[in-house]
Amino acid sequence: MNAQLLNSVGRDAAKVMNRSDLTRRLVAKLKHEEAVVGGIGHTHFDLWAAGQRPQNFYMLGTMGLAAPIAVGVALAQPQRKVFALEGDGSLLMQLGALGTIASLKLKNLVVIVWDNGSYQITGGQPTMTAAGVDLVAIGKGAGLVQSVWVKDEAHFEALVEASLSSDGPLFICARTDNAPPAGVTERDAAKIRNKFMEGLKVNTRGNQQTYAGAA
């Protein structure tokens, strides 16, 4: 990736943006059936609200596993670009995953964190990022060389655009506000899984080669 894009500001100077708006900007750039794993809470609500693509997976539970699930998809389908969307509170529960991603050197993986410094869905209690924990610094320390704070919306779009045609792993952290999400995901786990697998052209026996439409 262009070094200029990765040469960014620190958390303090990063613009506080809107999660719903950034999610829509991301989805608008996805033209090749890229997979997107939306983490628990408002993260997947906004992914849902940005348009129900067949290649979206929505996590109704399990804080911290959006990135590991995306790792699994990326390992299974190296030809497909895979995005994980996660909140700061969730990522803080599974920081070891950043080391796993760095060690696997997954070229087709992008992890995006919406850092609003709070557990917004449970009443806005502050997370430790609000007290100065810097997720980009942690990403770099974990071995993710391409770890970057988003300066503003234009920078975010440029990073997403560049990620589609350059090697990952890429770790993007964006500061976001506490505006409510733009929608609420339909809470049907089995349906979510089935639609996602159809979107990835995989049958329920976990086999790509023999995929023959919806199970």
């Binding site: 539970g61 299974a76 026996r205 790509q208």
Partner: protein, 179 residues
């Protein structure tokens, strides 16, 4: 020192499991280390057929294998009893509701002569957790049963889209066999 149990074909349990994994196209191995599983892990690392990932926690391994399944790559999580005890939330909020055929191979610690107090206590929680989540589980106790149990549990998991926990009992992994 533990001596490996040998079956009728002269195979050890870890050799049989490698064969069963391949027969079922289980290509992705995730694990958090365990001494009992060490010979199997060594074998898997040495075999190019397998992609082997060692994440920081068992939960992460569950996430990776879940994503891989949905992407069309079959995988399994290898762990010991204490590692399994970290998983109830992931199993209850991801594996079960999303109907993921998550394969788990658990080395059963904390029974039949373990020296670790923590393992002994946490061991009591394993089957109650598996049973309360209605997750298929079966202990493998004899070399003669390794292929039958593992192969059938794997096939059932994918056929029914439900998780399966294969428990490696010390009766299999720690028993000295008379030759």
């Amino acid at each position: 020192m533990v001596q490996e149990t040998t079956g009728p074909a002269g195979e050890t349990w870890d050799e049989t499991l490698v064969r069963v994994f391949k027969a079922n196209e289980i290509k992705l191995i995730t694990y958090v280390p365990d001494k009992v599983l060490a010979p199997l892990i060594k074998r898997l690392h040495a075999d190019d057929y397998f992609t082997v990932v060692c994440p920081a926690r068992e939960e992460e391994a569950v996430g990776i294998v879940t994503g891989a399944y949905m992407g069309g790559l079959r995988g399994i999580v290898l762990m010991q009893t204490s590692g399994f005890a970290t998983l109830p939330n992931a199993l209850a909020s991801l594996t079960v509701p999303y109907q993921i055929p998550l394969l788990m191979l658990i080395s059963e610690r904390g029974t039949l002569g373990d020296f670790q107090l923590g393992q002994v206590i946490v061991c009591r929680t394993m089957r109650p957790i598996l049973n309360s989540l209605n997750i298929e589980n079966y202990a493998i106790e004899r070399q003669d049963d390794v292929e039958f149990i593992a192969d059938r549990m794997i096939k059932q998991a994918y056929a029914t889209q439900a998780a399966a926990a294969m428990i490696l009992s010390p009766l299999l992994t720690a028993r000295v066999t008379k030759k």
